[in-house]
Amino acid sequence: MFKELDPLLHSELRLAIMSIVITVAEADFLSIKEQTRATAGNLSVQIEKLKEAGYIEVQKGFLGKRTRTVCKITLRGAEAFKNYVEALKSYLNLE
């Protein structure tokens, strides 16, 4: 029996964002943008979707005079990511 893939994570950019924030304690918007090579607009939309789902926490602050948006994974996000990888494994017969 295949496990269901989380539709929120089964999208290229959102999965990339989650893969980054699960690796570090926090990552700012610019570093995620550089790494995913996404446009700022698209990235903002996808971050907002992940935030609404409670998968990531977004904090806005300042670094000197510049605004800085920092993303952190939540426990719920980490759990969803783990389940997604487990589901993928079952699809690919890696279990």
Binding site: E12, S19, R37
Partner: protein, 194 residues
């Protein structure tokens, strides 16, 4: 990158690629903070020692406050410059440890206004030595582990020596515990990045 649906293999490939890229971007501990605090402390200590030795005016002890006054702004500039927008849990933990130690060391220094016989150098060396040891154990840097442990012996020496020359022991400990390992760590880090 788009909001595109992928097949299972593409998803796994993307996850491993992103994790690999992120790990390669994580800033390794490059020894710079050790050099900043080490050099600042050694130079200020020697200045205090020299002034006390030559004038015996205890007001020169106020020069000690140059350490945080120079160290903190330098660290702020450095951290801002070196930031790559990512922080690991270990970075955060090490940061919190040093923040707590910095506050405690400052309180110990200020406590001399209330009780002038506080063995400041002894307590500060114990605190900084503990911070160094914790950092060394976390980043698994053997030389620094040894230096952190050795600083405890120096702290005891600071309690035994009763004259102004105790400052020289303090300065020498910082030179050996922070400046030298800081340079070695920095050189190692640069070699790995070439």
């Amino acid at each position: 990158m788009e909001e595109r649906k992928m097949n299972g293999n593409e998803s796994l490939e993307l996850i491993s690629q992103m994790i690999k890229n992120t790990q390669s971007r994580i800033e390794r501990h490059n020894g710079m903070p050790f050099m900043v605090w080490g050099y600042t402390t050694v130079i200020v200590s020697l200045a205090v020692w020299f002034m006390l030795k030559s004038s015996s005016n205890y007001n020169w002890n106020y020069l000690w406050f140059l350490i945080p006054a120079i160290g903190y702004p330098t660290m702020m500039v450095l951290l801002k410059k070196q930031s790559n927008g990512m922080k690991t849990m270990m970075d955060k933990f090490i940061g919190y440890v040093w923040l707590s130690i910095g506050i405690a060391a400052f309180i110990v220094s200020v406590s001399t206004f209330i009780y002038w016989q506080t063995p400041v150098l002894f307590i500060v060396l114990l605190l900084i030595g503990s911070g160094t040891l914790i950092t060394a154990l976390l980043i698994q840097y053997k030389l620094l582990i040894f230096m952190g442990l050795a600083s405890y012996a120096s702290a005891i020496l600071c309690l035994i020596i009763r004259d102004v020359n105790v400052i020289l022991v303090f300065a020498a400990t910082f030179l050996v515990m922070m400046v030298i390992p800081g340079h070695i760590l920095y050189a190692k880090n640069r070699r790995n990045h070439v």
